[in-house]
Structure formats: structure tokens, C-alpha cells
Assembly symmetry: C2
Homo-oligomer: 493 residues x 2
């Protein structure tokens, strides 16, 4: 039998043909139609070709949310390059590690990240760093561009951290993004007047996926550079927004600022557990909140809870999206309803693996199933409940914080012999990390010095809020840190 | 790199889990929720297993539109059988030929096709014929069923009657149907209250595809056994229908019966050229008509014209759906804008080929492109115009004459209700066009007036040499004019 055709026309190019005059992007004073965006992309693609970009090359970006970020996302298919969106909150050390891992042909940064880019450039003089302003002067190539999208090719590599401490580059294909977009549409519906507000960072899958949906659906994106409740609330009304993606802390602040948006069809709420009071407040005001569970490795949503189920199935992340299968695994066997085990996911949105990490890929993807490392259960109606995030992940203001990564830094501090990091509840951020350390014999705790040490090596949101000296850390017989026990001990105090 | 996962969960099973209480099917007195439909399907799948159905077996059906037809469509994945929906309007000889070609394990028929089934059974005693009533007595198997859908596997084989030669069984995979459903959704949108009225025969792709969309979208289908304008119009109001698929003759009769449906979002109009008067009447009454061009081999729509373009781009089939590429081919080279050539289509909705027909498959699918045999052009905005079926071309004095173009003019003449144009041999010019028309009730044939009307609108060589009034024109079940039959009828006289 003939293999099914796995190529599509360039999404943006097609939108520019079918709806040239329709608004594609609103960002500050920028107002681009799909024809405008297509033109921007066409020019930038030709510039990247002129800079020597070849098919398969990685283009790393260190950018705030901005029109040039949007342009870059859609430029990838035309020069068959792979986008590596870097987290702008990371320290130069963290970024340097990711750059070495992904070896990009280019690193594009904006003015607000110029300082970090300079430091990186000094450390890694072999990489080409380009300020977005300098791009203006690059002459466009007249080489032929590609207007075909092969679903199996990579569009993005996004770094996610894990148990080992070092981040891994999750690869996402065009097919992953396409399936995610259509699966989300099957769940949320698609209206002629839909407009999606993007305020999450575009370097995370939650923000990035909005841009891909915009051209796949043919709907406008209203982009905010950063989150600020009052302007976001105003934007909802002014631009007649129908869908917005946020995390709990944002939604809480929007409520505090008298959120009232008559056109909103969906508030997609990701990034960890949601306080019940927040849900009740939204319910009372008729705000259609849909809690979601997703991750980079699945190109965003795995399951979404419809607003009408929000209180009835409180605490649930909803039912898996149609093209995905979710299974709860207990030691290799599918769990019964309500039995807690590891959440496994399979389907066409699942990453093909981690960039240059065959061992990590083989560990994460077994027989087609993604082992998320998250714990949860399915109730008898098939609703997913996420009990604990993978490997003691701490979710702080929507950012994933991995204890192991922080512990590794703490262990590098001379006076620290052992370190354990846990998340504690925080009103503002949901959770924040704190650290318990065992000091080398004779050493004294200098909390300020340790925190300063962390600041050089870790993004701000990863810095432990307190450092406590303890006599010993709870460990398994094999010597593995028991963070659950540590959390209980610490919280009980 | 790991190959993308090409399996999905059983669509209906998932809908029964996510929306068990939602209405899936309304047909006469039948009113099934998705849970009901799932139960029906589960039972029938077990019965088919008990009858010895194995993965890959063909199950032919000779059925009117009915709930059991719907059930059978969704039963296929659970026993991994392939549905062969037979055209109930064919003669026993035509059907016998198709059965021999596809060698089904079972032929399921209903009471209204019992006579034909009996004749077929006498001719082909080796096949198992099952009356739907007899199915009631079949005990269900307790074998394990399959709740996974492999996108590359076949769901359907549908015979298409090319204008020349014997019909061929176009194979359609689950992937073809899925991509068609999501592509259509990207174009038409998806609302929470959508309801699709199915009145086209389910044995054609135009009807069948509605059933697959229903479970993929999670929306109800309102099924009519056969077309009758007054009940269809009533149904639109009673069931708050938002989408309906029809052909021109149906829509005309619905208009004659005071069609007025406030909830209609889309009237999908397939099956060939549409009289301009009909479009104008719909436009005047605010009926959102979307002309489409599609075929069995592409699992339905290739291009669809949005209602707001209906008059501006009159005669066009619209722009290709997002995942498809359309190219106009002239002797192996892509045509320029407005140049007429063969319409080629590629994309994930395109059939993997014809059942047991490697030669026909290789001829139709070249380098991934489906050669439709249809003639058309793209205008400079990328709108597709279908000029004619290649096999119907009339060559007169070296000039190409396209019957559809002449028919469109004839249809604009007030007294003409339907028109069919064919070529007849002519000593002087090789071929000349002649026309057969169905007059509006009460009208009389005024040949001179019609010819004069044509002279105003068409080049001399395109003017029909004679105009004959006929009682009816031969059409396929989908309403498509059968010019080959018309030619035979006319020349035999």
C-alpha cells in the first residue's frame, strides 16, 4: 500500500492566500494581517538563508514576546531550520549549557537580552549572535524557499529539566504541533470571531502553541510582552478576546482587577494545581475556566476539564483529548480506576524524543508510550487526576522548578555536604522552593552566601526562599533522597 | 528518529466516555445518545465476530439510510473489517460485478433491497447474505474487541464509476477520514450546538463523511432516509440544524418549498455546477451556501467556496482546504493562473489507491499527486474553477468545448430547470454540442429563444446545434449528471 502523504502546504502561506486581509497579529502598535505576516516571514527566511542557515540547522532565540518572535516561529518551515526558544529567565551559565547541547547555527536576541547575549558570546565565541536590530541590515537571499511542511520534520526543540538536573531538548515535529492544534479545536470548538490572547512566554509550549494555532485556524493572536493584570483585562474587552491561556497566579490577579470579559469562551488554565477558591470565584462570575494538564513533550494539552465540570470534578485535569490515550501504570501493568500510578500518554502529539539523548529518549518512550513521571489516576468516568508532578517538580508561578537542578548547585557550594529541595505552598506563586542542607563538619551556615552563589547559577524563580541546616536528610536504603518525607518533616515543623 | 504514533483511540468509544448523554443520532423515531450508539456498535461488532469476520475482511452493505447503516460504519474499527457501501440504485448486474471485485465476507442488506439481494444470492451462492432482521438472532461473540484505530488501515472501499470502463474500488483509510473531518472543521468552524443533517445517500462519500464527522466532532446527526423537500425543511427548524449537505436539485426544491432555517450556518453544495439563479435566490434569502468540489478519492471536499465569496467568485469551487495542495497540470508542467489543465490533488485525505488495481492506482497517483481527470484552473487569487470532467470534453473544429460551461448558460435561461450537454459526431467539425433540457413546470420549449440567449453569452462554436426537451436527465445518486448515459440515450434514439 502507498504510504499516506505526510506533507502539507506552508500554513501561513496558505492563510495569506485564503484570508490575506484578516488580522493575524496585534502586539502593541503592531497590527499585521496574514498577508503582512507572510511578507515579514518571507523576508526573514531569505535573510536567514543569506546568513547560511541550512536545513536542519538550529536557530536559538533569546527574546521577549514580540512580533519578531512570532515572525521567527513561522520562518522555520521556509528555510527548514529548527527553532530553539530559550528561557530568558535563565542565568548565562544555564543558557551556555543549553547552547552547547544544541549547537545552534545562530542565536538571535533582542535588546532586553543583550547583556546576557554579550556574556554568552564571550564564553562561546564560536556561535553567531545576532541582535534583532542588526538583522535589519542583512540582505535577503534570492534562493528558492520551501513552501511544503513535512509532518515528520522538527519545528522546535524546547529544553525541559528532569530528575538528573540537566535539561533535555524535547523535539517537536510539525505533526506534533498540527495534531495538538486540531485536538484542541475539537475540544474548544472554532468560531469565526475567535481571538486568542497570548501572554504566557512564547519560549514555553503554552505560549508557542498559540502562535501555531493562529495560522492553522486562521485566527488573530493578541500578544502581550509580559503579564500585567490591568492591561490584559483591558485587552480582553478592547480586542474582543474569546480565548486566553494563563496560569493560576495570573488569573487571580486578573480577578483582583475586576476581570470582566463578555466575549471570553475559554480561559485555559495550565501550570499545576488550581486553588478551589479561585475556581469558585470564576464560577460565580461566569468565567469559563478550563483546567488543563499538559507538558512540552506532548506539544501542550493532554487533558482539559470543561468549565461545566469544573466544580463537579474539582481537582481533575479533565478527560484526555480525543487523539490521545492516557494510561495509569503501576509497575508495568495498567491500573484500575482510582488507583494511583505513573501517567503514560500516547498519540500523535507526543515528542519523538530528546535531542541527542538516545538513552533518555528510550527511557521516556517505551513501546510508543510516553512515561511522564507524573503520578495520577483516572476516575471511573475517565477523568484524569494528577496527584503529584514528576519527580517532585515544584510549580512556581507557572514555571517548572526541578529540585535536582537546585540541589546540584547547592552541592557545588564548598560548605554544603548534602542538599534537599522541596516546594512549600505560597500564596502568590502557588509554590516556592526551599532548601535543607547538611553542612560539612565544622562549617557554619551562611545563608546569604549560598543564596548569592545560587543567583549566579540559577534563574531567579529557582532560588530557594530559605536555607535550613539539618543534621541529616531522609534517604532510602540505597541512599536516594526521600523528598516526600523531607516535605512532611519540614511542613510539620 | 522514532516514527510518529499513527494510532488513535476508537472515536466513538471516546465520545461515549466524554459525552455519554449527548445525542448522536436522530432518525425518525430513533434517538440515540453517544452511549446508546456505542452500545449498538459494541453488540453488532460482537455479532460480526461471531459470524467469522476477521481483520481485513470486507463487509458489503446494501442499505437505505438507516440507524443500522450508521451502526455498521462505526462497527468497522472494533472488528477491523472494511466497509463496502454499495449503491442501491445499481442494477443486479452492476452490483454482481462489484461483489466479485471486492469479494466480501458478508453482504448485509435491508428489506427494501431484499429483492436485489435474492437475485444476487442466486447468481453468487458463495457469498453470505444477511438480512438486517436476521442479524437480531445472531449471538454475540465474547472475543476481545479492538479499541484502537490505526490511521493507515482501511475503513472503507467505495466504488466510483469513472465515465469510462468498469468502476474501481477507491480505498479510504481512517487517516483519510480523520484528515477530511479536521480539514472541513478548520474551514467551517465547530460550534457547541452544531447539528448536521444527512440526507445524501450514506453509500456515497458525501453522506458517509457526515457520520464520521459526527463522532470525531461529537455532534448529532439528523438522518433522513431519502430526500423530500418538505420534511427536510421541517427538520431544519425542528432540530435546529446548523449544517446540511445537498446537491443543487435538492436545494432548488427546498427553496420552492419555502426553505427558512434560522440556525443554518452552512449549506454544503456539491455535485457539480450550480445555476446562478439558485445562488442569487439563496443570497437574497440569506442562506449560507458553500459550493464544494470533492470526490470519493479525496474522502470528500477538496475545495469549498465560502458564502461571502459565492457571487464575487461565481462558478468557483473555492480555495483548497488547508492540508491539501491543488495544482493544474498541462502535459506534466504546472499551469499558470487561469490556464485550464488537469486538476491534481495531494495531501493526507487522498486515497492510497484502488482495491486490487495496481495499474489504475499507478495511473491515478503519480509522485504523490492524485490525477483527478477533471479539468479546471486556478485564478490569480488561488480559487479553483472546475471546468469539466476530462472525459466529457467536446472537441469541435479544433476548439475545446466544455459542456458544463454551456449548461451553466442554459440554466440561466428562465424556463430551463436542468440542462445536459453532450457532443455528437459531425461531418464538418468532428463534434458539435447538443443540449437536453428539463423545462420548468408549465413552460414550453422555445428553441430559437434559447439559442439566441446562448448566442449572447457564448462563442459561436459553443452554441448547441439542437435543444431537446426531456422529462428528466440521468443522474448519479449523488445528483451528478451522467453525460455518458445521456449521450448513449440520445445517440441511440
Amino acid at each position: 500500500m502507498i504510504r499516506p502523504d505526510q506533507t502539507l502546504p506552508d500554513w501561513l502561506r496558505r492563510r495569506a492566500a485564503t484570508m490575506p486581509e484578516r488580522i493575524a497579529l496585534i502586539a502593541g502598535d503592531t497590527r499585521w494581517t496574514f498577508a503582512d505576516l507572510d511578507q515579514q516571514v518571507e523576508h526573514l527566511a531569505r535573510q536567514l538563508m543569506a546568513l547560511g542557515i541550512q536545513p536542519g540547522d538550529r536557530v536559538a532565540v533569546l527574546l521577549q514576546n514580540s512580533p519578531v518572535f512570532v515572525t521567527l516561529v513561522h520562518t522555520m518551515p521556509r528555510c527548514r531550520a529548527v527553532l530553539v526558544p530559550l528561557n530568558t529567565r535563565l542565568t548565562p551559565n544555564e543558557l551556555a549549557w543549553q547552547l552547547d547541547d544544541v549547537s545552534p547555527r545562530l542565536v538571535i536576541h533582542d535588546q532586553s537580552n543583550a547583556g546576557v547575549a554579550d556574556q554568552l558570546h564571550q564564553q562561546q565565541p564560536d556561535y553567531f549572535f545576532y541582535h534583532t536590530d542588526a538583522l535589519h541590515d542583512v540582505a535577503a537571499s534570492d534562493q528558492a524557499l520551501d513552501y511544503t511542511i513535512a509532518l515528520n520534520e522538527l519545528h522546535t526543540i524546547i529544553y525541559t529539566s528532569g530528575t538528573t538536573g540537566k535539561p533535555k531538548g524535547a523535539m517537536l515535529t510539525y505533526g506534533n504541533h498540527w495534531w495538538s492544534a486540531t485536538a484542541s479545536m475539537l475540544n474548544l470548538g472554532l468560531h469565526d470571531d475567535d481571538r486568542w490572547l497570548a501572554v504566557l512566554p512564547l519560549f514555553h509550549i503554552g505560549g508557542l502553541s498559540i502562535l501555531l494555532r493562529s495560522v492553522i485556524y486562521g485566527i488573530p493572536v493578541v500578544l502581550h510582552e509580559a503579564f500585567d493584570a490591568a492591561p490584559v483585562n483591558r485587552s480582553l474587552e478592547e480586542h474582543q478576546i474569546t480565548i486566553i491561556s494563563v496560569v493560576s497566579t495570573m488569573l487571580q490577579r486578573m480577578l483582583d482587577q475586576q476581570l470582566c470579559a463578555t466575549k471570553l469562551r475559554w480561559v485555559l488554565l495550565g501550570g499545576g494545581p488550581v486553588p478551589r477558591l479561585l475556581l469558585e470565584a470564576c464560577n460565580k462570575r461566569g468565567i469559563p475556566v478550563a483546567q488543563t494538564y499538559g507538558m512540552t513533550e506532548t506539544a501542550s494539552q493532554v487533558a482539559t476539564l470543561a468549565p461545566h465540570d469544573a466544580l463537579r470534578k474539582s481537582g481533575s485535569a479533565g478527560q484526555p483529548l480525543l487523539p490521545l490515550k492516557v494510561q495509569i501504570d503501576i509497575e508495568g501493568e495498567p491500573a484500575a480506576a482510582r488507583q494511583v500510578g505513573e501517567i503514560l500518554v500516547r498519540g500523535p502529539m507526543v515528542t519523538p524524543g530528546y535531542f541527542n539523548r538516545p538513552t533518555a529518549t528510550a527511557a521516556a518512550l517505551q513501546d510508543g508510550w510516553l512515561h511522564t513521571g507524573d503520578l495520577g489516576y483516572l476516575d471511573s468516568d475517565g477523568y484524569l487526576y494528577v496527584v503529584d508532578r514528576r519527580d517532585d517538580i515544584i510549580i512556581s508561578g507557572g514555571e517548572n522548578v526541578y529540585p535536582a537542578e537546585i540541589e546540584e548547585v547547592l552541592l557545588a557550594f564548598p560548605a554544603v555536604a548534602e542538599a534537599g529541595v522541596i516546594g512549600i505552598p505560597d500564596e502568590q506563586w502557588g509554590q516556592v522552593p526551599i532548601a535543607c542542607v547538611v553542612l560539612c563538619s565544622g562549617a557554619e551556615l551562611d545563608e546569604a552566601a549560598i543564596i548569592a552563589f545560587c543567583h549566579e547559577r540559577l534563574a531567579r524563580y529557582k532560588i530557594p526562599h530559605t536555607i535550613q541546616a539539618v543534621a541529616a536528610l531522609p534517604r532510602t536504603a540505597a541512599g536516594k533522597l526521600r523528598r516526600g518525607v523531607l516535605r512532611t518533616q519540614t511542613l510539620d515543623e
